[in-house]
């Protein structure tokens, strides 16, 4: 009986650790989402719109989940350094230059990137700051 109790307490403890781990990531995600939203409003929304719908053929929408997934490692570079190449989004070619935002710190880039990839119908989960920082060092 005693062994049974100890065992169940121990397993509850382990489960507790796992649950709280997940919670930490959920908290991080919520944190990034809320800060990312503010940065999006200030820096991105003018062109990409309040619902990520883009602006005509001038600014692409941010709703192409496939594009976002395939280019995941480059998104941070686009956000910080802008884009000056032709991009195919939703099967449509966009050639306008996107401005750079050198004033954004790595953490800002991570937050706004997590916001974009988890809004407007996208659901690509959390990306930690450390990963984004590494992506930014590998920018071409």
């Amino acid at each position: 009986m005693r062994k049974y109790i100890i065992n169940s307490v121990f397993s509850l403890f382990i489960i507790g650790i796992i649950v709280s781990c997940q919670n930490q990531e959920t908290i991080d995600l919520q944190n990034y989402m809320s800060n990312g939203k503010d940065i999006y409003k200030a820096k991105c929304q003018n062109c990409h719109g309040v619902n990520g719908e883009g602006l005509g053929k001038l600014a692409p929408p941010l709703t192409d989940s496939v594009f976002l997934k395939v280019n995941k490692a480059r998104l941070a570079c686009f956000i910080k350094n802008g884009a000056n190449e032709s991009l195919i989004i939703h099967g449509q070619e966009y050639k306008e230059k996107m401005p750079a935002f050198p004033e954004l710190a790595d953490i800002d880039v991570a937050q706004v990137m997590v916001f974009i990839t988890n809004s407007f119908g996208n659901k690509q989960g959390f990306v930690p700051y450390s990963k984004v920082s590494k992506d930014l060092q590998d920018c071409k």
């Binding site: 003018n46 062109c47 719109g49 602006l55 005509g56 053929k57 001038l58 600014a59 401005p99």
Partner: protein, 215 residues
């Protein structure tokens, strides 16, 4: 008997309120002065003269010389922007686009956008911009002119501040007003094109202005 007098009072008060309700009229902006004019019968009287937009002539997105004649008999919305602007212009034109779509089929309404980037925004650049925005045809003119002519028109006549500023991110600063001009070239409204509620107001005011001319 008492009841009847009550009802009478109620009705007369009601009538009073009803008669107070005037048709809404848009204000006049800018300078004004009194002038002695002769009316049709030759009788001299004093009238208020409002500020008007002077004659202008610019190249449009098709490299065609376009003058104020193109707006004759129309009310129009004017604004100042430049194509490489990343701050307020995209929002302004996103919002103005919704106004354009609402009045697309109304021949009495026009749109005039002046670029303030006299170095880069030549007509072919404006053309590309218009097409990518989703505008085609003469209803929305994108106009190119010299720095002097455009900046003077903006500040003196449309009352919109514009300028070159090397410290600004894109090299220029300007206000995001959408200015509503009536058929007699007087300024009848100015709406912040970056604010959705003001743009909604513009959509409501255009029919009010057009109604003035339907007599």
């Amino acid at each position: 008997m008492k009841n009847i007098s009550y009802i009478t009072i109620l009705i007369s008060v009601g009538l009073l309120f009803a008669s107070c309700k005037q048709e809404r009229k848009l204000p006049f902006y800018g300078e004004r002065h009194a002038e002695t004019v002769k009316d049709a019968a030759g009788v001299e009287k004093i009238d208020t003269v409002y500020q008007t937009i002077p004659a202008w002539s610019f190249l449009n997105q098709d490299s065609i010389v376009t003058t104020n004649k193109s707006t004759d008999g129309k009310v129009y919305v004017a604004d100042f922007f430049f194509t490489s602007c990343t701050t307020i212009c995209p929002t302004m034109h996103r919002n103005l686009m919704t106004v354009y779509n609402d009045f697309k089929s109304n021949p009495d309404v026009m749109f005039v956008s002046h670029t303030i980037d006299f170095k880069y925004d030549k007509p072919h650049v404006l053309k590309k911009y218009a097409q990518k925005l989703g505008v085609d045809g003469p209803k929305w003119q994108f106009l190119y002119g010299t720095k002097d002519s455009v900046y003077t028109l903006a500040e003196k006549n449309y009352l919109v501040a514009v300028g070159e500023d090397s410290t600004a991110k894109d090299g220029y600063i300007h206000q995001g007003y959408l200015v509503l001009i009536d058929k007699d070239r007087r300024i009848r409204g100015a709406y912040d094109g970056t604010k959705e509620d003001q743009v909604e107001q513009l959509k409501k005011d255009i029919p009010v202005l057009l109604a003035e001319y339907k007599k």
